[in-house]
Symmetry: C2
Subunit: 356 residues, 2 copies
């Protein structure tokens, strides 16, 4: 049995990835060993991590200044690693505050230098993406969170700026086309669109590194990880393997442009129903709606529990909204089939009809 | 087919762990979702991490001052996290230098305070454990690496000291009984004796925390992880699940005391053959020999390649020595069956007979 998995992350993965990984857990490529039992510096695993790194580069069409790393720690570790590597003490970095994760990134950056919060949508519970703001020319970089998982907003226009652009793309990486070469550094936990919890992808321009004077601990120094081919220490082997399989799957689907078309269809279908159905209402300013996390509430909150119970019977899981927003959040990442969105929309229609 | 897996880590895991995990990759406990697809804050995963944490506490018989955390980053991240949390700038920590990993821990600690290397076996390529050394009374803590994976040495007598004792136990954690309550902090990557690469276990006394004045980034602050029940951010879900299953398996085997007996038998068998067989010679001072990583060479190095080829035909894998020592290293962690050691010993006997 498979359910319709709208989890916000960790979240749905392609079936073929899971089946292949399940077999590799018993016998990895005929080695007589599990993927968990092989040395990380042996050729079979080196091939895995190298394929994962080069698929990211290929799928994002990154130029040669970029290095792709698979690290430990989650995006939360990058919140401190980014300023530690890029922001000299006494210098200023510009941050946009578009949700809980942005705020956490800002908090950590303040330990390393000055932070200029150039825009914030906090006063409206982060239900929109700020548009009019100025980035000081002397800012060392501008940090954005391209998609805000909790609030369901997404930057549909990446800000034009002369300072290096740094982005937390944890929840929409590889879900849509864009010129990724506009960025100086892109990072993300992989557990939403490109794998399983435990690995973190970092795409960093080599040319921005080595410009701060502080002593950086080895495990937090991007240059150390680059020199060591993302294997300074034992990497998170299995999460990286899952990423490699997921990236391979994405390439097989036609890459980012193809998955974007499907993601657009899924989002259009679900937002269309939210807008048409009298029982439901989106929580986000329309132009800033996320195509990954669809947040909505009911005008009659007393029906929400009932709707949840109803959808559960339809094998729909993971749609309870985050406590910061309430209501519902349906996460429709790359691996969620169109069929699951169709089932969800049917459930909304049917429930509404019953209540009419 | 299963091979005889003497890998140094990642390394052999119990079959029952792999089979259970392989099924959970497709359907975790009848949820219709993979273990990779469920939310980390949902009750089924909270139960997993809580069981893992409490099994560590139970199997090590830790007193109530200890908190057990499962973190990202590997032991290499602990090399910096330990001094960041425990060593005030200007204060001194005592370190013993018993191998590559100790040296790396020392290097990172120097970024945070003074390091007094109170003993080192470097001058003899780390083939013994230093015995006579003094720990200055004012040292903030003493750091040891209880087992040295690369060189095959192990501390069989934990130093008696009045300062808090900190240990990297990556390669012998839960392999032998000892009074773990003598320690103030124990850490280890779990990919040798207690799981798969990607999770790090930290057992820390709450009473030693909060005594340094520096600002500690959230992801590196033990107090933050304690407050958040080891879930400050998305944890490495699958590696933690594997640890939980491995810990459950160890408990089923009779716990640490029972596995120690088996480990003693395996080590005695293999070292016995090394000492008796005229072709082979151990590289480590006898009294300091590791019961986890057995290092040995041949007096006629030209035979080493031939022996490697011969053992390969017997499905023995992972015995090539680390480049720092050469020859062979057979890692005989908890999950390695006695049978594998017997096969190895038979191969040594047979090869020696052929060459006689």
């Amino acid at each position: 049995m498979k359910v319709h998995n709208f989890n916000a992350g960790p979240s749905v993965l392609p079936n073929e990835v899971l089946y292949k990984a399940s077999k590799a857990l018993i016998d990895f490529e005929g080695s007589g060993m599990s993927i968990l039992e092989i040395g990380h510096r042996t050729p079979p695993f080196v091939a895995v991590i190298e394929e994962a790194r080069s698929l990211v580069k290929e799928l994002m069409q990154l130029d040669d200044d970029f290095e792709v790393l698979f690290l430990h720690g989650g995006a939360s570790t990058q919140f401190l690693t980014v300023p530690m590597n890029l922001l000299e003490s006494g210098e200023t970095a510009a941050y946009t505050d578009t949700g809980v994760w942005s705020s956490k990134a800002i908090k950590e950056a303040k330990l390393f230098g000055y932070v200029d919060v150039v825009s914030s949508s906090r006063e409206r519970n982060y239900n929109y993406i700020p548009k009019d703001f100025t980035v000081p020319a002397q800012a060392k970089y501008l940090h954005i969170t391209t998609n805000n998982t909790i609030y369901g907003t997404q930057w549909h226009h990446i800000p034009e700026t002369d300072v290096p652009l740094v982005a937390d793309m944890s929840s929409d990486i590889l879900s849509r086309t864009m010129d990724f070469n506009k960025f100086a550094l892109i990072y993300g936990g992989v557990q939403k669109n490109m794998g399983a919890a435990g690995a973190t992808v970092v795409c960093v321009r080599k040319s921005i590194l080595g410009k701060v004077s502080r002593n950086i601990p080895s495990m937090l120094d991007y240059r150390v990880h680059i020199e060591n081919g993302s294997m300074f220490n034992t990497p998170p082997v299995f999460p990286i393997y899952i990423s490699m399989l997921t990236l391979r799957w994405l390439k097989g689907q036609g890459g980012v442009a193809a998955i974007e078309k499907l993601n657009d269809r899924k989002a259009a279908l679900l937002y269309g129903e939210i807008d048409e159905n009298p029982l439901f209402r989106g929580t986000v300013v329309k132009e800033d709606r996320s195509k990954m996390n669809v947040c909505f509430v009911m005008d009659k909150p007393e029906l929400e529990e009932e709707f949840l119970k109803f959808t559960k019977k339809e094998d729909i899981v993971g749609i309870k909204g985050h406590r910061s927003v309430g209501g519902f959040r349906a996460s429709i990442y790359n691996a969620l089939p169109l069929e699951s969105v169709e089932v969800m929309v049917e459930a909304m229609k049917y429930f509404s009809m019953k209540k009419a």
